[in-house]
Amino acid sequence: MLVGAFACAHTPQLIARPETEDRALVLRVHAAFARVKRRLEALRPDAVAVVAGDHVEAFFLDAVPALAVYAGAAAAGTFGPYKYSFPVHEPLARAVVEQGIERGFDLLYTQGAPLDYAFFVPLHFTMPEPAVPILPLHVNVYLPPQPTPRRCHAWGQALGEILRGRPERVVLMASGGMSHYPGTDRYASPDFDWDRRVLDTLAEGRGAELAAVTGEELDKAGNVELRTWITVLGAVGAARADVYCYEPSWHHGNAVVEWPLS
């Protein structure tokens, strides 16, 4: 069953803060993460399924899957001084791959790809105690052509149905966003207005509208990673978002959101 849904920023400056970053802002995002952690502990999930956009870490240009499921025993990776490994909920992973394929989604699965920091950063701050297994779900966000928002939303709808049919208590968590342009000349000019309009839409329970956004618009708004949110939106339907925080830094719209599910 699907017992909770969240979206968390994962920008690496939140975990490894250079001097360029406003410390108070970083700590405010940490406070929102702590709130997610408390909620997870109250929801008592058996697994946290994280939908994240791979930063060309698990999948380089040797093979670029649009959608992928990590179905190994454990998922491990490194980022700077951090070395991490999380047990994976294997029965859940296998069910998602098998039922996803049955539903017409040609998923790639991996049992050994490195786990990107997009998965690690939110889990570092929000993993409930005691810890639970994870299910990493990849969406290609940085290597064009990426899956369309409509396809991500449809995958999220199918994913939600699969999870609701399972005996485990599962929390879905999107990792990524909001507006930022890493590596481009717009890095210091995120589109905060676009972000705020999206958050207003989500707070009103109208997240399904994001399925109609184009990939071109996401790129223009610095929101290629919002595909992970749109995937989760497919699963949560008309639930209204509770925006824990929106903290615009000089390069990034940092948001933490919950969709409380009845």
């Binding site: 803060r17 951090y82 940085y142 290597l143 590596g183 481009t184 000349d185 790129d219 223009k220």
Partner: protein, 91 residues
């Protein structure tokens, strides 16, 4: 989408992107690059112009040659972290 921030990576840039990917994600390769950048770049068969752009940290020149902007960004960050030229507060 020619004006997109992130574009389809041209096949001609595969060696350059592979080198940037290794700088980002391969600790051993990054250490070799920090010790001897030219020898490390030669491992990936970079031509002189690509080597020059990478050594200069010239993002625009790298992207013009087909480098993925995110890889340029994170390779540079990871090299600076390895060289100790940036300081971080780790949480």
């Amino acid at each position: 989408m020619n004006d997109a921030h992130y574009r389809f990576p041209p096949a001609s840039a595969f060696p350059l992107n592979r080198c940037l990917y290794a700088l980002k994600s391969d600790d051993a390769f990054r250490a070799r690059f920090v010790a001897d950048a030219k020898a490390a770049m030669a491992e990936h068969g970079l031509d002189a112009a690509a080597q020059s752009a990478l050594l200069a940290g010239d993002r625009d020149a790298l992207v013009a040659r087909g480098a993925h902007p995110y890889l340029v960004f994170m390779a540079d960050l990871r090299v600076r972290m390895a060289r100790g030229t940036a300081t971080f507060e780790y949480f």
